[in-house]
């Protein structure tokens, strides 16, 4: 295997140079969240008893467990501090691996740049090896910084290191998953979709395992994070699972790589229709056609998540743990009220996820402009207005549809009442505003559209950090999601909903004013 690796070091340095902003930003954002959570959680509770009660209350809520995984040792400060980091944020670590690997493998092949590199004195496997090495390096650094963050915040050193190691491990697994996906399809988009679906499935498998069929959680790397018990009596041997899985997947990827040509996928490119359907006649139809595969995938994914989460809600009464947890819940207004809180909490998390669909629709339009397809469109009788309306429509209508799907699916899963539909739909104005701001970025300058992802990340961070850091209200209030009513736990407050909608309209108007007057390309 020494052959075919010539030039790996060079390509790795080149990859690091290209990712000098992306990779450090991702690593620092994630490890920063660890530091903040670790530093903020301790002071939140006056006594150990309070802390244990809080941990038990979290465990008593199946939706929380489904989202974050269980707290196995309720007396451990480390485990409580890292509740969100252990499973949910590990997903973002895995995605870091996916993004880095996909960027330097399939995207390079699709654009033809890999061919240029392949024609130099660089080995066949060097691009793959360099991509993997970069992702491994980023995973290692994020793990080290996460461990350091925990130690700085005063958590036990051993637990901190083990926790960091689990993050490095999940990063490696994400990278290896992307590496396999990159061999399968010749389309970079499909590769991203396959890898995300795999990670989503592993996460969902754990959610089911943690809430009902517990052995399932042992099968997925997202279940290992909690079962490692980094902070109490650690199962250190579980850490071997990550590299083992990563190496296995890498072996599969290399075997697949040997069976295919550069630029091709294992799945052959199927020929398509020789003629365009009469419906494919304008930019709206084109954008719809471009988005339909993604929207179908999202609809199925959101429906599955909704049904699963919804079906967990009714079990909340029977799963109450100790007396203390019961007291906490009674203090919050009883089981019915708690269910309502869960419905609205779930809806707010899913709303952020759905926003990502809309942002991807906007960044796709930015990619069309970068590559010159927008120019081709606007050289026909297609107007700028028609184009912007189509893009805005695909983002806003698509996201609204997904909100409806998530609400309906949650209601079906719960099997009682239509509150979840309302809970999902009250999120719409916040989603619209974030997407309208994303469109404004696109209209200001197409290259800025990717900052839409930063917008979503900033809102999530404000929401997450705001609650643990006790940030000033105006700062937390910058996130549109913060102003949405917590229906059905609270009545719908129409004023903020209206204000958010008006702000979204204003952003859309500003977007159009700018887009009609700017240079294209």
């Amino acid at each position: 295997m020494s052959q075919g690796l010539e030039g790996t070091g060079l390509l790795l340095r080149f990859a690091l140079r290209r990712d000098r902003v992306l990779a450090p930003a991702w690593v620092l954002a994630l490890s920063g969240m660890v530091l903040v959570s670790a530093a903020a959680t301790g002071p939140l509770y006056g006594s150990e008893a309070e802390r244990v009660a809080a941990a038990e209350a979290l465990n008593a809520s199946p939706a929380v467990v489904a989202l974050y995984g269980p707290i196995l040792d309720t007396s451990s400060l480390g485990e409580l501090s890292m509740t969100k980091m252990t499973v949910l944020y590990a997903v973002f670590v895995a995605f870091m691996g996916v993004v880095l690997v996909r960027r330097h493998t399939r995207v390079e092949e699709e654009t033809g740049r890999a061919e240029m590199v392949g024609a130099t004195a660089v080995g066949v496997h060097a691009p793959t090896a360099a991509a993997l090495a970069e992702a491994a390096l980023a995973s290692l650094v994020v793990g080290l910084l996460a461990a350091a963050g925990n130690i700085v915040a005063g958590l036990p050193v051993a637990g901190s290191v083990l926790f960091g190691a689990s993050w490095t491990g999940i990063g490696l697994v994400g990278a290896a998953i992307a590496l396999v996906a990159a061999q399968v399809s010749s389309s970079a988009r499909t590769v991203g979709f396959l890898a995300s679906t795999a990670i989503g499935a592993l996460y969902l498998l754990r959610a089911v395992g943690d809430t009902s069929v517990s052995w399932l959680s042992w099968l997925t790397p997202f279940g290992w994070g909690t079962r490692l018990s980094a902070w109490s009596e650690p199962r250190v041997w579980l850490l071997v699972g990550y590299p083992l899985l990563a190496v296995g997947l890498t072996g599969v990827a290399l075997a697949l790589r040997r069976r295919r040509d550069l630029g091709a996928g294992v799945l052959p490119d199927r020929p398509g229709p020789a003629e365009g359907s009469p419906r494919l006649r304008d930019v709206a139809a084109l954008v719809w056609r471009e988005q339909s595969a993604a929207l179908t995938g999202w609809t199925i994914g959101i429906a599955v998540i909704g049904i699963l989460m919804g079906s967990i809600i009714p079990s909340i009464g029977s799963m109450l743990g100790t007396g203390e947890a019961r007291e906490v819940i009674e203090a919050m207004g009883g089981v019915g009220a708690l269910q309502d809180v869960l419905v609205s909490a779930l809806a707010s998390v899913i709303a952020v996820v759905i926003t990502c669909y809309g942002i991807s629709a906007v960044t796709r339009a930015a990619g069309d402009e970068r590559d010159g397809r927008t120019e081709t469109l606007l050289a026909t009788a297609t107007s700028r207005r028609g184009l912007l309306v189509a893009v805005a429509g695909s983002a806003l209508v698509g996201a609204t549809w997904l909100l409806l799907v998530s609400g309906a699916a949650t209601a079906v899963g719960r099997g009682e009442g239509f509150d979840p539909v309302g809970a999902a739909l009250v999120q719409a104005p916040a989603v619209w505003l974030v997407l309208a701001l994303g469109l404004l970025l696109l209209s200001l300058r197409s290259r800025w559209a990717v900052a839409g992802w930063a917008l979503v990340a900033a809102c999530v961070t404000l929401g997450q950090v705001g609650e643990s850091l006790d940030l000033p209200g105006w700062l937390v209030g910058l996130s549109p999601y913060h102003h949405v009513s917590r229906y059905p736990a609270e009545a719908v407050a129409w004023r903020p909903e209206l204000v958010l909608t008006l702000l979204a309209l204003a952003a859309l108007a500003a977007s159009w004013t700018r887009y009609r007057g700017r240079d294209i390309g």
Partner: protein
């Protein structure tokens, strides 16, 4: 304005860079107009202004007598555009893309010459956009542009990536459209292509038109290379108006000469007893190299 394209004093800046600096370009009805210039001289920027994709900072631009910025869609119904670097939608087939672009111009693909052109260009319309090579991407755009009658063709280095056989198909298609009365703006680097196809050319350098006219006009403006053999001693030619680059080798003499200097040179040579004389008009290549290089 009756000309399909009329540009006067066009200025376009990107930040501090002046991409177009007072460009003039007039394309008359029914002509094939070659648009030439070195890389980065502003050809594509000009074309994108003509398509209403860029806002201008000065001058006047008219396409069919309309403002390309304000009346973009009205203009675009009457023209077809082939970009220099064609990018296709990765998951649409070539056939779908052709039909989409035709429909977007307001043309129904049925009843066009689409099928015939696919055959002539030997293009498989069932492949996905991402699977085409550069040449085949170019063919997709060309078939979409040539399939239906159109008043104006805007072609930005349209044959880049085509093999010589396909270049011939391209030439034939262009000739057919010209015969049907279409006007063509042809940006190109390939001199033989321009020589064969263009009625008039405009040469652009650093955002300004440095030459414009028929190739014959341009040739007349340029120096002939004169080589002569004399029986007596070679006269002193350096001082003559319009005579340059004099080289003497025994009784052989050669010099470049402007049209104004020709009578003076001939006088001097016949006084010295000219034995033989050859005058070579500038080749197209010299013409362009000269225009590309010289300061205006």
């Amino acid at each position: 304005m009756s000309n399909p394209i009329e540009v006067h004093g066009l200025v376009k800046t990107f930040g501090r860079a002046r991409a177009l600096d007072g460009l003039d370009l007039v394309v008359s009805p029914g002509e094939v107009h070659g648009f030439l210039g070195p890389n980065g001289s502003g050809k594509s920027t000009t074309i994108r202004v003509l398509l209403g994709l860029l806002r201008i900072d000065g001058g006047q631009v008219g396409v069919f007598g309309l403002d390309p910025w304000r009346d973009a869609t009205d203009i675009h119904r009457r023209l077809a555009y082939v970009p220099g670097d064609v990018s296709l939608w990765p998951n649409l087939t070539g056939g779908e893309t052709i039909d989409l672009l035709l429909r977007m111009r307001g043309v129904d693909p049925r009843g066009t010459r689409r099928a015939e052109l696919l055959e002539r260009f030997e293009l498989d319309p069932t492949k996905k956009g991402r699977a085409y090579s550069k040449g085949n991407r170019q063919k997709v755009a060309l078939v979409a542009a040539f399939a239906a009658p159109v008043e104006l063709l805007v072609l930005d280095e349209p044959t880049s990536g085509l093999d010589p056989l396909m270049e011939q198909v391209f030439n034939t298609c262009l000739a057919e459209h010209k015969a049907a009365g279409a006007t063509v703006l042809l940006s190109s680097h390939i001199l033989s292509e321009v020589e064969r196809l263009a009625d008039r050319v405009t040469i652009i350098r650093t955002g300004r038109a440095v030459e414009s006219g028929t190739l014959e006009d341009l040739r007349h403006l340029r120096r002939n290379r004169v080589r002569a053999e004399v029986s007596g001693t070679v006269p002193a030619l350096e001082g003559l108006d319009g005579v340059h680059d004099v080289e003497v080798d025994g009784r052989l003499v050669s010099a470049s000469v402007d049209p104004v200097g020709l009578p003076l040179l001939l006088d001097a040579l016949s006084t010295a007893g000219v034995v033989s004389l050859v005058s070579t008009p500038p080749t197209l290549e010299e013409l362009f190299l000269d225009a590309y290089r010289s300061t205006p």
